[in-house]
């Protein structure tokens, strides 16, 4: 099958467009599909996508009002700004918008618990112990607030960490 737009190259991308309830199928080559996606990106950018995700949890009217009013004291960005541009204003925004960002991060990454390196200069072993303690605290909190999905994830992380730690105990290994 040849591309519907240029009619020269083989169609490798198949696109279904719905405009005003009219469904339209397009078969495009790589090149024309790229052009098309640039056009679409202009109409529907990543920021919209993130903004859309951010809006996913339907807040009550009262909550809506407070959401609009929340503003980062450090940089002045509002949650509405964030939804518009898809970027946060500064590191403090993460604290300011914590309750809205949690569900968003969960949707994007499938997780809300960091499990990688940290910038703090602490020995790796004690680092893991701190991690474990922090995770146990988080687990307790998640159970109390009945966020069972998060609790299950935290529980798995604890198990994984404990397993790694016991492995390290048996065969000590320098890790960079």
């Amino acid at each position: 099958m040849l591309c519907d737009i240029c009619g020269k190259n083989p169609a490798t991308v198949h696109l279904t467009e719905i405009i005003d309830d009219q469904m339209n199928e397009l078969h495009l080559c790589e090149q024309c599909a790229h052009q098309k996606s640039l056009q679409m990106e202009q109409q529907f950018g990543l920021s919209d996508l993130l903004g859309g995700l951010a809006e996913f949890e339907k807040p009550t009217t009262k909550e809506k009002e407070t959401t609009v009013a929340v503003k980062c004291a450090n940089c002045g960005l509002t949650y509405v700004d964030f939804k518009k541009i898809g970027r946060l204003g500064c590191s403090e925004c993460y604290n300011t918008f914590k309750r809205y960002l949690g569900p968003l991060l969960k949707k994007v990454h499938g997780s809300i618990i960091h499990f990688g390196k940290s910038p703090f200069k602490v020995a790796r072993v004690s680092d893991k112990k701190t991690d474990l303690q922090a995770l146990r605290n988080q687990l307790q909190k998640a159970i109390e607030t009945e966020e069972f999905e998060d609790a299950a994830e935290i529980r798995d992380k604890i198990k994984e960490l404990e397993k790694k730690e016991s492995q390290n105990d048996t065969e000590p290994k320098e890790k960079g």
Binding site: V13, L88, S91, Y94, V108, G110, S118
Partner: protein, 349 residues
Amino acid sequence: MKLNDLISHSSEWLKGSGPNSDIVISSRIRLARNLEKIPFPHWANKNQNEQVLNTITGAAGKVDYLKGTTTFKLADLDRVDKQFLIERHLMSYEHGQRADNKAVIIDDEEILSIMVNEEDHIRMQVMQSGFNLFEAWNIINRIDDYLAKELNFAFLADWGYLTACPTNTGTGMRGSVMLHLPALVMTTQINRVLAAISKLSFTTRGLYGEGTQATGNFFQVSNQVSLGHSEDDIIENINGLIRQIIEQENQARETMLSRDRAVLEDRINRGFGILKSAHIITSQETIELLSMVRLGCDMGMIKGLDRRTINELFITTQPAHLQKLENKTLASLERDVKRAELIRNKLPK
């Protein structure tokens, strides 16, 4: 080092060696980092951006490990210079857009590049030739540690490194592997492979990263998820996926050899023939034909040509590189003529 010194020099990641370098061109790890409390580049005012630029370049200057690096302020570079750095994969297209208070720090081997004030305060990347993500991670991890001693990185214990866009929060890490998959494209299996990749939460992009199309059968595969897994685990996941894609590409190459040998030989030698004899050639056609020639070398159908020469041609035939080589601005047709000449000179007669 001056920017023009780079032109006579070949990037480390192009050398065409390293594990699986027949199918894997390069491996790259990038980390996103930000300074605590100072607004992210898009939200900061001019003074804040300037402060970030000075703080970060100052900190890099204090790190012994970064002694051999050069800092280029984007305000000092012209349009061709910026395009030149983009073509060499040393900075992103986005970074070249608004030049105020931005910089890129590069080492002589072009293994490392640190973009200051891109989407985040720091976007650093390490590139390696071939399938070698862990090596790239080992290098960048060390640089990150050194910089963390000099700078206060924005970090939360539960959410990790904080980035301008929540899609990078957590490790702030993106691992990317540049693959050359001509046989999967020719046997029309590539869409199935790409669909599987996206189902597994990985993304594919073209030769020049975000928003670029796949040309000449090159695909860049990267992780999408940056929170919830350690850096080692993320890399291990990418590696597992890449190993499978390599396996599939090898199988497709075998299939073509046994079933469509004549078609394969025709496409490869026809491409080689055009490149050796053309007097006008666009960069698009160059990439497509070089892809065939590269495959011909991998499969032993073209002799006397090494992978490094082909890899370098992918970069040196790009518009800004041609203009740097000629040391003047060239119109589109002039470039096509110079490009053809360069290729004829580099390829065996």
